[in-house]
């Protein structure tokens, strides 16, 4: 090895030939590309891309799955879906989640991230709050806990008989909440479910925003302070505009997650909750496919879900654009 290295360092001519040699199709190169690119790509195409494509085709058949008989029905499934009151209710519930979850999560995460990063002294160097490390570690906890377990824990917290929440509420004298079924009452089931999902994700986005805020050069904050901006003005006028790309990313991720929400919703209320008040599209899709065997119809639901997801992402990008997201505020 060392010998070869010495030889090479002696002249530039060797480099040139070596570069030319790389262009030739040697066995080394061909086998390398075949394995390195071919193998992952085949797995990816077979198990991810082809199901996506097939789903679009199946959505136009009334396939029941257990024979090869796939009567083509065109857009019939979609017409059926739009006339299905329960499916439309699940669409509505999913959209409600996609509207509220990102807003609540992002705002809470921003507030907490701001408190941690600029809650410190207003003299001298800009610094974060004391004990910020502790808050960061604790806040991130829920993100690593499996969603199933989060669902199970919170289902117990909301339990009317022995749950923590009613225990606390009756403990502080609110006896009206004794035996109140948070997940079993159509007025509160959806809100309670949202609380669970927000609880699971605020910490993650808080960490993300903290990292983004720390990426802003300290001079920017110092300049704002010299100009007389208080903490609140700094947060609104400096921090948020400078990390708006991160906010957009967080918003899109959280929205996509809210449109799925399968794990949380199916653990908290496996059958869609009281009067289907927490039934979401993903749950409806799952039971249509794997309990009722209406695979064509389920694929149509999948397509609707995918379209709504894409529309949501596009909307967030557009709104960010329109409100001046592409302006470089740091200049």
């Amino acid at each position: 090895m060392t010998q070869v290295t010495n030889e090479v360092q002696s002249g530039g001519g060797v480099v040139a030939t070596a570069r030319r040699r790389r262009k030739k199709l040697t066995f080394d190169k061909v086998s390398f590309m075949a394995v390195f690119l071919g193998l992952p790509l085949v797995i990816y195409l077979v198990f991810v891309i082809s199901p996506f494509v097939q789903a679009v085709y199946y959505s136009m058949t009334s396939w029941s799955g257990f024979d090869n008989n796939m009567p083509f029905v065109g857009l019939g499934n979609y017409v059926k879906l739009f006339n299905d009151d329960i499916f439309m209710l699940s669409v509505r519930n999913s959209i409600v989640l996609a509207i509220f979850l990102p807003v609540i999560t992002v705002i809470l995460a921003l507030v907490l991230a701001t408190l941690v990063t600029i809650g410190g002294s207003s003299r001298g160097q800009i610094k974060g709050l004391k004990g910020a490390g502790f808050y960061r570690i604790v806040s991130f906890f829920p993100y690593v806990i499996p969603a199933v377990v989060i669902g199970i824990i919170w289902a117990q917290i909301f339990n009317p008989d022995n749950g923590l929440l009613n225990g606390i509420l009756t403990g502080i004298g609110l006896d009206g909440f004794k035996d109140f079924p948070w997940l079993g009452d159509s007025r509160t089931a959806m809100i309670a479910s949202m609380v669970v999902i927000v609880w699971g994700f605020v910490g993650f986005y808080m960490i993300l925003f903290i990292a983004a805020i720390k990426g802003i050069p300290a001079e920017t904050f110092e300049a704002a302070r010299i100009d007389g901006a208080g903490r609140f003005r700094t947060a609104i006028n400096i921090t948020i505009p400078l990390i708006r790309d991160n906010i957009q990313t967080a918003y899109v991720y959280m929205g996509i997650l809210a449109l799925d929400a399968f794990v949380y919703m199916s653990i908290l209320n496996s059958t869609g909750g009281p009067e289907n008040s927490t039934l979401v599209m993903s749950q409806k899709l799952f039971t249509t496919a794997f309990s009722k065997g209406q695979f064509g119809l389920a694929c149509a639901m999948g397509v609707v879900l995918a379209v709504i997801t894409l529309i949501f992402s596009a909307l967030v990008f557009l709104v960010n654009r329109w409100t001046g997201g592409n302006k470089d505020v740091s200049e």
Binding site: M1, V4, T5, V8, A18, R19, T26, D28, K29, S31, F32, M33, L37, L39, P40, I43, Y44, F47, V48, I49, S50, P51, F52, A55, L112, L115, V116, G119, G120, S122, R123, G124, K130, G131, V138, S139, F140, P142, I145, P146, V148, V149, I152, I153, Q156, I157, N162, G163, L164, N166, W199, V202, I207, V263, S270, S282, L285, F286, G302, T309
Partner: protein, 298 residues
Amino acid sequence: MALNIAKNKPAAHGHVERKSQETKGDKVVAGVSHTMLALWSLLVLVPLGWTLLSSFKTTSEIFASPFSLPEVWQFQNYVNAWNTAGIGSYFFNTVIVVGAALVIVMVLGAMCAYVLARFVFPGSRAIYYLMLAGLTFPIFLAIVPLFFILKNMGLLNTLPGLIIVYVAFALPFTVFFLFSFFKALPSEIAEAAQIDGAGEWRTFFQIMLPMAKPGMASVAIFNFLGLWNQYLIPVAINTKRENYVLSQGIAAFAGQQGYAVDFGSLFAAAIIVVVPVLVMYILFQRQLQGSVSAGTMK
């Protein structure tokens, strides 16, 4: 474990007034900030602490009061969860599936990202966008056809089938993250290796892959968490009880709770599922939080 962390708490309160130059306003802001953050921390820790406490109580104690300490600490709950509820065997299934999938996806993902990042060839852009599509579309769109693809291959309800699907769906994220990582590595080193006579294979495994270690570690942690916590895929394509992974096992256990109520064991099962990820988190927490920031900078 929640309690352990609380012990390490680096004196969050009481240190606020260390510097004399701090103004009154500073103190107020710091006080308000600490109060709000402490409230939030309680909101995170109390449910977890309550779960831990309840996992040592008998069912009748749980029903008597949500706050009381157990009369006798019921370690039996953990034994019951592990054996009777089958959490033990689900645990081993999960270790096998997640372990195998993680190794395979890291190797394949690194190879694919390396080729995409360092070679120019027709179609490389198209492959990149194909990967983006895999990240954007909801997995629910794919789930029905996926079921039949596995069925036709004879892989439905088998652990190898689950492993390969985990690999396929973790691939786009892995490739994306490592793509930027390989792109940032200096190309001179690869060229030097080539000049020294190393073929493409050797260049990758002996030179480039070791250099990408920090990136690999971050992606591996995220993939571990994602796969360990995965629920939808196993519920759809792995429905044989003896092949259950932890997430579906505990969900099934919670589902039958309505009939055979053993809440103590349910809480114990929850703790058993959480402990491995929490250990991973505490071991790698610096790295994990670091990669959250790296991921957002693109």
